[in-house]
Symmetry: C2
Subunit: 310 residues, 2 copies
């Protein structure tokens, strides 16, 4: 059995604060139709794909942000995506702000299968930024204010022909993210992101350097865990704030095999052979043969830095 | 106080099986003199820098390999390096096969300070390859046969003006290596390697792809732990077996700031500002603020892959 998964990355151009869900969902549907015409199996949308990247806006009252969140999933605004998925047997990954019935807020992604049914949910673990207004920043990044850290870990799902994982944006910079999924045999990791083109603290990092950092994190995560990694940007200028593009598909060898050219709505596609994972998983990255957990204890027992004594 | 460490990477061309230690040490001394003329503080030599990469040779009797190992350090063959270090206040990292007084064998590196005194020892944790002859390989890679896994963990030393770490060759492909040192605040990681230009299992990886994999591992390790990473190759054709070059110096931003051009004896240098680590350590990679160890438990409790149930 050949295990080819045809992946479409649906990079999205900017979503302005003034755009309503209905307009946004029409854009996402257009990308999904393109993917379907190209016989793709799964479409990967960005993080917070239904709204602008609202954590850049400070509100004293957190509840004033509730309108950016979804209280149920699916809900009437996004139902057309679920209907389309079912009618055309096309799964998808979608990021959105989740407001639970208990009043909790998460930066969430779901995996919807080719029957239009939610088969996996992930809540972002590594929330960047601040919980309070930060006067040193050129713009705010308040994910720690508006979201709780994910409480579902990094699950891997056996669905749509393979072992699938999810993460969101800043998670990709933390090797623990990919490793915990790698230890479950993950074959394809989907991730959406909204990443500023420049550093909000105004340091000397160029846009080019930041793009390279973004790519090496995905490439190292893919190679070191012998899996496909698929990243979908929300890109371009949102209300004057620039987000990087650079959506890409990375093979288990660490190579970028497809990459977006624009910073707008754009589909990139690749036939991902999940069995390409096997060579690495069985040789250089045969975890059972090579990992030495007796020397890894600090990773899961110690949070911050503890330097050697003076 | 400006904390500049002038690092020299002393890439070595091939060392043939027939070359004796005295000849090899003269080559290393020549590189050290070049570094000293350029006012470098530390010289980084490769893994197993005193001999050919002997784990490619199969011996039924392991003791037949003992002549490739050092029984004491320093010993008369390498004493000139220690003397030079002391006379010229130049520290160094050196990889060699260690045969302990208790009869154990390790793939070891030492850090020698500017007084010519061994101030740190590391024993390679991630031994690649096989413990028995492997008929499927185009050439053998028997590190698991001739060495025991390192038993010293990944220490970090406060020496020569900074927080210094070491690892060896295949260790760089395992993000746990850099993370354990990152959790101790490491500012500069030195590593030597002997890496075949092509895959011994004859898969389709090109030399170029393997070079990229080598670099992204060091770049991700540097960036994700906000430290300098410095890699020294033994390169070129050893007894007909090709080793990759690509020695380099990676900054805490993940950029390669210096890189060898040849596959022979070659010195590359860079003034590493250890305070460049601080920006990343205090912001995007502020471990205390962002790490979520409650979701990392598998990393240190589970060795091999455990996929989700069918």
């Amino acid at each position: 059995m050949v295990r080819i998964v045809r992946i479409a990355v649906a990079q999205c151009g900017p979503i302005q604060a003034s755009e309503d869900r209905r307009t946004v969902v029409l854009r996402l549907l257009d990308l999904m139709e393109q993917a379907c015409r190209n016989k793709c199996d799964i479409v990967v949308f960005p993080e917070l794909a239904l709204t602008t990247f609202f954590p850049r806006y400070y509100e004293e009252e957190r509840s004033a942000m509730n309108h950016w969140f979804e209280q149920g999933m699916p809900n009437p605004s996004v139902q057309p995506l679920f209907d389309y998925a079912k009618q055309h047997s096309t799964g998808f990954y979608l990021g959105y702000g989740e407001h639970t019935s208990k009043g909790h807020h998460f930066n969430t992604s779901i995996l919807v299968d080719q029957q239009g049914v939610i088969c996996g949910k992930y809540r972002k673990v590594h929330l960047p930024g601040d919980s309070e207004y930060n006067p040193h920043k050129r713009w705010q990044h308040l994910e720690k204010r508006y979201f709780q850290p994910g409480n579902l870990g990094f699950p891997v799902w056996r669905t749509m022909g393979g072992l699938m994982g999810m993460c969101i944006c800043n998670d990709r910079r933390w090797p623990e993210t990919f490793r915990v999924m790698g230890l479950q045999g993950v074959e394809l990791v989907m991730l959406g992101y909204n990443t500023p083109t420049l550093n909000s603290l105004g340091n000397s990092e160029s846009a080019d350097l930041r793009m390279m950092q973004h790519h090496i994190c995905m490439q190292a995560g893919a190679y070191q865990n012998s899996c496909w990694v698929v990243g979908a940007a929300k890109a371009g200028s949102e209300d004057g704030f620039e987000l990087m593009a650079g959506s890409c598909i990375v093979s288990p060898s660490g190579e970028i095999v497809a990459r977006a050219n624009t910073n707008g709505d754009e589909l990139i596609m690749h036939e991902c052979d999940l069995d390409l994972c096997n060579f690495y998983k069985q040789t250089i990255f045969d975890f059972a043969a090579h990992r030495r957990i007796e020397h890894y204890q600090k990773i899961s027992s110690q949070i911050g830095v503890e330097p050697p004594s003076e």
